[in-house]
């Protein structure tokens, strides 16, 4: 399957929009759906590990070696706020998108 993007002409699209490859959800960045965004306050974080398993978008990266959570991946975070809700230490703060 050729790489399909917003410039692909009709003749090169697949019937019904079928996608003939696997693992390409990452090509569709959902971050711009956000109306609120989480801020990671690393000094308050105890690395308890409660936040990243509840993220529906896998937008909290965890280090392969140190097993510590890193800052948010805003390409995919939809701002649902579940992580902020589960954090026992107030290390995740939700702010309105666009606000400073």
């Amino acid at each position: 399957m050729t790489d399909i993007n917003t410039n692909t002409p009709m003749e090169k699209l697949t019937p019904g929009g079928d996608i003939y490859t696997a693992g390409n959800a990452k090509d569709f960045k959902t971050g711009d759906w956000r109306s609120a965004y989480p801020v990671f306050l690393s000094d308050k974080c105890k690395q308890c590990g409660l936040c990243f398993p509840v993220c529906p978008e896998d937008a909290i990266p965890v280090g392969k070696e140190d097993l510590k959570r890193k800052d948010f991946n805003y390409d995919y975070c939809k701002g649902c706020g579940v992580c902020a809700k589960v954090c026992p230490f107030g290390a995740i703060e939700m702010r309105e998108e666009g606000a400073q």
Partner: protein, 397 residues
Amino acid sequence: MSIRERLSGNEAAATAMKQINPDVVAAFPITPSTEIPQYFSTFVDNGLVDTEFVAVESEHSAMSACIGAEAAGARAMTATSANGLSLMWEMIYIASSLRLPIVMSLVNRAVSGPLNIHNDHSDAMGARDAGWIMLFSENNQEAYDNTLMAHRIAENKNVRLPLMVCQDGFITSHSIENIELLEDDKVKEFVGTYKPEHYLLNKDEPIAVGPLDLQSYLFEHKAMQAEAMRNAKQVILDVAKDFEKMTGRKYGLFEEYKLDDAEIAIVCMNSTAGTTKFVVDKLRAQGIKAGLLKVRVFRPFPVDEIANALSHLKAIAVLDKADSLNAAGGALFEDVTSAMYVNNIHVPAVNYVYGIGGRDTKADDIESVYNDLSEIVKTEKIDNPYRYLGLRKEAQK
């Protein structure tokens, strides 16, 4: 050697399905199409087919199961009528937009309400923009033949669209007529096996079907559907040619009955064409040059072909067995007249809404239409093109 039988229209459709032997049939009973899944489930029970019969809980589920089966790579069929088709509504658009060549037997019945189980075309006409190929059948033989041709058309790689074979509820579905059947092995060879290029159960190629299709893509995908519908016209003719070689029975986009030298003609679909042929013969014996154009392929609509076939007439009447309730005229009338307009052909045309809710349309009714047409030719006047045939009204003072 073909097999001579006598079958009802529903039996004919079920027999065609048996000979096609699809992978999956998912259906829910609704009058007057109930007998089709009923007969078919006995074929399943008696081991005459290899089909997985899914006894679903609703028509929405029937179409959903067909969609799932086709996307998986199977050949799926169903049957329904009227409100059953209404309940499939959401899924018939999914089926066509995902380009799944499901074949459905639609036994035409009035869509309620008030509640009515008898024949008109309001179910089919409601679905006319849903992206399905629509074939209409005058009698049980045509319902059988159209079903045998259906998969070759729907599954063609330039088409890949679902297809419905229509016939008139009760009038043909429950009437027993003589019919010529083909031998099972001939049908098997003609229909062939379904070999989709991409399908969900292919472990070597994981695919996604029906993804999110937003502003940047849906327009193009809809245009591709429209192109497939245009492609279908030639495929329908090619398949009909092969079918004729095997059976001697000739099918086109429409049938012209004594239309060549006709001066006045009726355009209609399904069983009314049989009544109209009888009337045409009667009028011809009286020296009246009456003719008929029976539409077989309603979607794709044969725009240029129909316009040209009607171009030499002095007046035409288009019979619609469904009222569009648009204060303008029936669906077939609108399609026929706009086909003529874009081809720059002008023939005086009138529309008759008729047979609603199974109201019987007799030879006398059809003859009155030809009389009206003769009057139009004589007076060159059409007071109101949007008319009713057989409607009860207070006597005019």
